[in-house]
């Protein structure tokens, strides 16, 4: 067996042992101060033992702490403050113990002086603990930012093209996934990613990035290792980098690193990297990528209450909400054999701007009811197939400026309605199977309007 590093082995017990003096000494403080109340004076008899165990463990903590500090991965300034505070705590607690067992006394009032020592220990422990925490977790580990959003702190990327490649994309990834251990306060492997300069400088084993060669860079190599490998980063089961994040950093090392920090638009990444970046930025900012994809946001419609929907449900409408902001609906009015439900169309009045798709197929819809549908200003798809609507009825739909498709299969329409239909500027598809209207391009070759009549319409069919 080869003796490697006994000091580091013992040093690593510091974080464990350090909690003992904190507990024992705080207990002594509590006992001592509670003893100020005459009724509880008797509990002060436990103070000497608490102080003794606290002092002994504090000395142990000092020794192990010193051994750990030799490892050298810590910010020297914070470290020295922490060390001296720790040593003072041990000394003060030792003196306090001597006072408590009457070995030494400050004039005649040694009991009162012990109160002063107790308060001093409280301050010392708190301060030493704070600096110790800063060493392990970095400064700002406990911060109100976690609870409340700090508006100015995080740069909102509203326009991805304007984002700086390193500062706004690569750096936040590194901070988020690596910054906990590789910062100026806690330089694991003597590597800090706090600034571009310190990142370039590298760590204990030299540079971690080889400019232009991502796969030869230690940083990328470590990230791409098998997670079970001892050298895999981030270590200890901390959240790993995603495939997209790794790809972004690889691209940065390969092509962007040497020059100045460019805006994304100028860096012109390959399309897959760009998609990853947009995705990454989208997830990090309020303006998520889904809003750009969502065609619903350009539609304005008032909110719909659940009561109204429940009421329509009870009337037999099948309602699917297809957007929640704004509230947009896909409504079907089922037809029951022999009974027409068309009278119910007027019940849709309260949600008239919210209806995007409407299906009244198979109901005996009258021209007057079409006039009601004509007020559904956002309507995009309308199914009137197997209804008795006529050319006169189609004329009543002239205000549907958003209508994209209308299903008129097995209705009583004729070619005459094509003129009215081609006046509807958004209309793209008209289904006329089972009517005399044939497949044509009524608006000429350039028009978007398409008539789909099917092939079998010449055969008499029972719909």
């Amino acid at each position: 067996m080869v003796l490697l590093s006994v000091q580091l082995f013992l040093g690593r017990f510091h974080p464990l042992i350090v909690h003992l003096p904190v507990g024992f000494l705080l207990l002594a403080v509590i006992l001592q101060l509670t003893g100020c109340i005459p009724r509880y004076r008797s509990i002060r008899s436990a103070v000497p033992l608490s102080l003794l165990t606290g002092c002994a463990s504090a000395i142990m903590a000092c020794i192990t702490g010193y051994l750990l500090s030799l490892d050298g991965d810590y910010n020297p300034e914070t470290l020295s403050v922490h060390m001296w505070l720790g040593i003072f705590t041990a000394i003060v607690s030792f003196i306090a113990w001597l006072i408590s067992i009457h070995t030494i006394s400050f004039k005649a009032m040694h009991l009162k002086s012990l109160n002063v020592f107790a308060l001093a220990m409280l301050v010392l422990i708190t301060a030493a603990g704070h600096y110790g925490g800063t060493l392990t977790h970095g400064s700002g580990y406990i911060s109100t930012d976690i609870v409340f959003e700090k508006p100015k702190e995080k740069k909102q990327i509203t326009n991805a093209e304007e984002a700086l490649v390193f500062e706004d994309i690569v750096y936040p990834i590194l901070q988020n996934k690596c910054g906990n251990c590789h910062n100026n306060n806690k330089k694991k492997g003597r590597l800090s990613m706090e600034t571009l300069a310190s990142l370039k400088k590298g760590g204990k084993h030299g540079a971690v990035i080889t400019e232009g060669k991502p796969l030869e860079s230690e940083l990328i190599k470590r990230v791409l290792l098998d997670p079970a490998d001892e050298k895999f980063m981030p270590t200890d089961g901390k959240p790993p980098l995603t495939g997209e994040e790794t790809a972004i950093i690889q691209w940065w090392i390969e092509s962007q690193m040497s020059g100045e920090d460019k805006k994304l638009a100028l860096a012109s990444p390959p399309s897959n990297i760009k998609e990853y970046i947009l995705h990454y930025l989208g997830a990090g900012t309020a303006a998520s990528s889904s809003t750009t994809e969502n065609a619903a946001t350009s539609i304005s419609a008032p909110p719909v209450t659940d009561d109204v929907l429940a009421q329509l449900n009870n009337e037999g409408f099948v309602i699917k909400q297809i957007s929640y902001d704004p509230d947009l609906l896909d409504i079907t009015l089922p037809s029951t054999e022999g009974i027409s439900n068309a009278d119910k169309i007027k019940l849709l009045e309260p949600v008239k701007s919210n209806i995007l798709w409407l299906n009244v197929s198979g109901n005996k819809v009258t021209d007057d009811q079409l006039a009601i549908i004509n007020t559904f200003s956002n309507l995009q798809r309308l199914r009137l197939d197997k209804t008795p609507v006529t050319d006169a009825g189609i004329r009543r739909l002239a205000d549907l400026s958003s209508l994209e498709s209308i299903n008129l299969c097995y209705t009583k329409i004729t070619e005459a309605c094509l003129a009215d239909l081609s006046n509807m500027k958004s209309l793209q598809s008209v289904y006329t199977w089972g009517t005399p209207v044939k497949e044509t391009k009524p608006g000429g070759e350039k028009s978007h309007l398409k008539i789909v009549s099917g092939e079998s319409s010449n055969i008499a069919i029972k719909p």
Binding site: G243, E275, S288, S290, E293, N294, A295, A296, P303, D306, L309, A310, N313, V318, I319, K320, Q321, I322, S323, Y324, L328, D330, T332, L356, W357, R381, R383, D385, S405, N407, C409, S429, Y431, W433, V452, S453, G454, E455, S456, S457, I459, I461, K462
Partner: protein, 501 residues
Amino acid sequence: MHDHHHEPPFDPMNRDLAQVKKQLDRRTFLTKTSLGLGAVALGTLLGRSSLFGKTNASATPLEEGVTNTVFPNYLPKAKRIVYLFQSGGPSQLELFDYKPGLEKYQAQDLPASIRGNQRLTGMSAEQSVFPVASSIFKFQQYGECKAWVSELMPYTAQVVDDLCFVKSMNTDAINHDPATTFFQSGNQIAGRPSIGAWLSYGLGSDNENLPTFIVLVSKNGSGQPLMARLWSNGFLPSRHQGVEFRSGKDPVLYLGNPEGYDGKDRRQMLDYLKNLNQLQADTYGDPEINTRISQYEMAYRMQTSVPEVTDMSNEPDWVYDMYGADSRDPGTFAANCLLARRLLEKDVKFVQLYHQGWDHHGGLPGGIKEQCRKTDQASAALVKDLKQRGLLEDTLVVWGGEFGRTVYSQGKLSADNYGRDHHPRCFTMWMAGAGVKPGFTYGETDDFGYNIVKDPVHVHDFHATLLHLFGIDHEKLVYRYQGRRFRLTDVSGHVVKDILT
């Protein structure tokens, strides 16, 4: 006294049961308070803008406490889908991926540079040579989009202007079971919910009288087996699983009343049963009890809805002519396509067809001809029929198998006979309808049809795109199970935006 003995609500009168109820109350309190906090935390994790934001009671298909996200996330293009699954792995080289240069290499060993490090199955890995086999079938361009289709698919060739071909599909699995399971559930190992179950879970039903997810399997299928777990709900509540209709004259058995029973008091009987089940559900909180309740109700409604939809007597002759002669024979692929159209007309969200027999390791020319004869006309007819009814604009049609086939011949290559082994690295699928570009071809393979050279589409990407068409962000449709969140696309998947309209 009660003149109507149905009136008093059921209540546990039994002392033991009351005791259990009491105990559970304390437990329920603890569970509910802790879960409640968990749900609030999860809500913020999932990025809701406000914690107690607006909820939409009218459309909450999701189970309580699972996620606060409501679907769809953005405006959908598709309302329903029919997936024509071609089990066994149809050869892309015989059907759609035309490789005119292959004849030059006929019977030559496939260059190692093309083969790369692709693993082979045990069936052909030991071959001493990998002779390139060009297709013996003729190809021709069709439609305005000039898509290449082989002579095996004369009917599909007529509708190419409505289809979107993806020639760069690729998968991770090389054998049937894992590959099929991967396609249907996003994972090679069984146990995850299938696509249909996820859609049912996320979007709910559009027609309460029929199951949301219906499965039709071509009858007398031989070849690679199909298991009910392919349409399973996995860990989702079991009412989201696919309901298989029998392939035959009577798709759902026992819908009629037995002899001597007129069914008049069935409603009453079911109400009683529901109360009893509800009692158990309240006591034990097992979601499977709720599933049982909803399935009894569904079965009751299906007594009228299923005979209506499966009664083909009102289909005119020309419809049968369009789908082909097989369509008069219930349970065939053609008859299932026709039934699928009728189900889609009733707003069934997901109709999943399976057709076996594409696994042509040997005797490929004869075998593939036979399968095309059984499927080509009906697949094309379904697209045409949906289109003329105006349904294609919000119905997605998907055609494809679990992987492709190798360019080299498995076994002996002769002038008119050869076989092809499994090939996961590239194969062709087509989609049509809702939100995908009509008359469009995406992705390219190399001159050997062995590697993808442009725009690869992985199975996860296919799933992400499919969910996208239904307005679902595939990263948001999640379900927590055994301590982690699960998605159909696992941890991958990109929406293939280039094929969207």
